[in-house]
């Protein structure tokens, strides 16, 4: 799978509603952040969790989120950031129109 995103891209975290083992915590779902860098490609933990090692591999990114965006009552600086790793299939591109707000 070719990575769809690169550093600087704005992405929205999907809430895929998957049951079972996933590595996308609830608190970042439906929030948008910025790709910090590509981490490479890895076997999907959702497959590994059920013993499937046949692949395919999935691109992984580190994504940064403004703390003030994650938590409405956040107490700290506007520049404070949360950095987390997210797999490609949990992300959508954020369009320029959305970027404006």
């Amino acid at each position: 799978m070719i990575p769809r995103f690169d550093a600087g891209d704005r992405v929205l975290v999907l809430d895929l509603g998957k049951s079972g083992h996933v590595r996308t915590p609830f608190y970042v779902r439906r929030h948008s952040g910025v790709v910090l860098h590509r981490c490479g490609a890895f076997l999907n933990p959702e497959d590994l969790a059920i013993g499937n090692v046949a692949g395919p591999v999935v691109p992984l990114y580190r994504v940064g989120f403004a703390m003030t965006d994650l938590w409405k009552d956040y107490r700290g600086l506007p520049a404070d950031m949360l950095c987390i790793e997210l797999y490609d299939h949990w992300l959508n591109p954020v369009e320029a129109a959305v970027r404006a707000d």
Partner: protein, 220 residues
Amino acid sequence: MSDQEHTHDHAHSHDHAHDGHEPLVVEDEAGNIEGQILVDALQTLLVERGLVFPGEVRREIERIEAPGVHLGAKIVARAWVDDDFRTRLLADGKSAVAELGIGVGEAQLIVVANDADTHNFVCCTLCSCYPRSILGQPPAWYISKAYRARAVREPRAVLEEFGLVLPDGVRVLVHDSNADMRYLVLPQRPKGSEGLGEDQLAGLITRDCMIGVSVVGPVA
């Protein structure tokens, strides 16, 4: 912790005001004996089935006991005295630490550097991922529910509980170690350490500085 306390903790799991401390779930003496019996039984079955050889568990324990804070400290001290190494370390942690003979078993190592404007710290909200091959086992508080829950939401309050108040204007970057990367904080080299050699510098560096809940204090 007794069974009675277990029940108590559970009943009050959302009531965090009653003693101000989120209970850390640890086994009491009976629980530790039960854990020992359980793991001995498992080991016996695995040896019987030829899946694990006798002696292999002992050897693996020796292997996982070997890494510790001294490895992380060595990495940081080298980065303080060697700018080229520092650059390589920040670009590709795993390859750079391999130059020091340190093997990272985890997928990849991301080293995040503190500076005058930025303070980094590391947690794992989903389980307790930790760079075991360079820092050893995580401390008990790192795997506690309170740390896992709060680090990503109120990092400054958490740091204050560790006695760390950041100077005005310093931004916080929290790293939730949730997938295939592991994180090491590269603390700032302290004032007054200019004349120190690499080994002396390594002696200043604590585990907590490399998790990011502390900083390296000035050298007297």
